[in-house]
Symmetry: C2
Subunit: 282 residues, 2 copies
């Protein structure tokens, strides 16, 4: 009996992580998981047909998230990462109570690190209009640092600039200086890159903000939290050479071509398996 | 009897035009209708909660368009303008057979003018990725000019640049020169602004393309077609001073604030009546 139970546990450990986002931005979280948890398999779902979530109601985002989780479960995942700011804000806490899998989002890890490491007590957050107006980051930051002053600035052009591949371009630098001018005189020493696309602009944003402001990358912090969570729950994959084949799977709700173009910009290898699925059927 | 029928006809003539778009871009069509048909009332609906349509399936766009038309009918419209490229491409021909109201889209009028006025027989089209990859403009152009060569170029940054208000900005000029470089050596003498946002970039685009290339504004051509249609069907509003109050109504499916900010950039007066409605209930 104990041998069988042992095997079952090993099976669960070998199951993949499920990662989902409203589109392609969550691939920056996927990339961090690949880097920090090289023994883990992962299944990514990007809801590219229904992107963006930011302008949709809480009920709709919750419904979409439940569908995606049902799909990820068919792939036998052992834990779920909500790699989407809007879904983390609108759906995570409800879903946490509904399912028996460990699940984490991208807002909390970034907010916690910023709240705990700021010395001036003044934190900047940049994100989409939806994320900034939701005030989700100030709300989470207050849980660890109720005294902190949080300054938000929406940067609507950053996502389309990234999706056009203009990561280190004079145009992007010019737009970044205009947006980030907002923080002049605010005294922030920490800036949260509160949108999954923004880590790709890290060097441009860093150049504009200067060395005295620490940039918090929620993708990095989320992968760290995931690692901790798997260790705590004894769900880490022991790994091994035979596990390498088919380690990462990618699914989208819209055309695969556009997704692959973007994915090849973020991930250092070709996304060998990408497939379009009918998410509304889940 | 004849007097009563006469009254009924006048009533219909006094009814508003219904105009709809997936978001705010269709306001450039609304603006042309206000300019060219100053006696007409109009009701605008922008589906700002479900924008963009370009990445959605044909079935979904058709379903959304039917909902919106049901809503516009509750406002007693006498004719409908589909001020959205995707809905014109995916839904117009099906809906034309389903309803008893005159209905026109934005693709045909622009395509026809370009097809009939080009002298080189070489036409450029710029639009969103959805519009360009749908090949709807080449298809329509071929109906009037089967010999014409059509060159398409997607310009994904134009919509976000317009929505940020950067209409005449060095950044927008730089991006426009990069995109439009594509047409070098193509021999086009006509360029269709195949996205409802693009007429707002007319002067920047014109500067880059030079004076030898004619810019076709589908919003302008659509208002002209509408004027002709109303005249043919004897549906023109005779007008009169008492008609001015409440001449234009605006409805959206998402927050009114963001819509009004953009509307005030396009329309020369304040949008006095804008209201959020639950479009999914129609």
């Amino acid at each position: 009996m104990s041998g069988k139970s042992e095997n079952k546990k090993t099976d669960i450990c070998k199951a993949p992580i499920g990662v989902f986002d409203s589109g392609v931005g969550g691939l920056t979280v996927m990339r961090e998981i690949m880097r920090q948890l090289p023994n883990e398999k992962a299944v990514y779902f990007g809801d590219t047909a229904r992107v963006p979530y930011g302008s949709k109601s809480k009920e709709t985002v919750l419904r979409y998230s439940r569908q995606i989780i049902r799909f990820l479960r068919t792939r036998g995942v052992k834990a779920i990462v909500v790699a989407c700011n809007t879904a983390s804000a609108y759906a995570l806490e409800t879903i946490q109570e509904e399912i028996d899998l460990p699940i984490i989002g991208v807002v909390k890890p970034g907010a916690q690190v910023a709240a705990e490491t700021t010395r001036s007590g003044r934190i900047g957050v940049i994100g989409t209009e939806g994320t900034i107006s939701s005030r989700i980051y100030p709300e989470y930051i207050a849980r660890w640092n109720p005294e902190a002053a949080v300054f938000g600035k929406a940067c609507p052009l950053f996502v389309p600039l990234v999706e056009e591949g203009l990561l280190k371009d004079p145009v992007t630098e010019e737009i970044a200086s205009r947006y980030l001018r907002e923080f002049e005189g605010s005294g922030i020493d920490t800036l949260i890159l509160g949108c999954t696309h923004y880590p790709l602009l890290r060097s441009t944003i860093g150049k504009v903000m200067g060395e005295t402001v620490a940039l918090v990358n929620p993708a990095y912090e989320t992968a760290r939290s995931l690692k901790e969570l798997l260790r705590e729950q004894k769900l880490e994959n022991p790994g091994g050479m035979e596990e390498q084949a088919g380690q990462y799977e990618f699914y989208v709700s819209d055309s695969v071509q556009r997704f692959q173009r973007f994915a090849s910009m973020i991930l250092s290898f070709e996304t060998t398996h990408a497939e379009q699925i009918q998410i509304e059927e889940y």
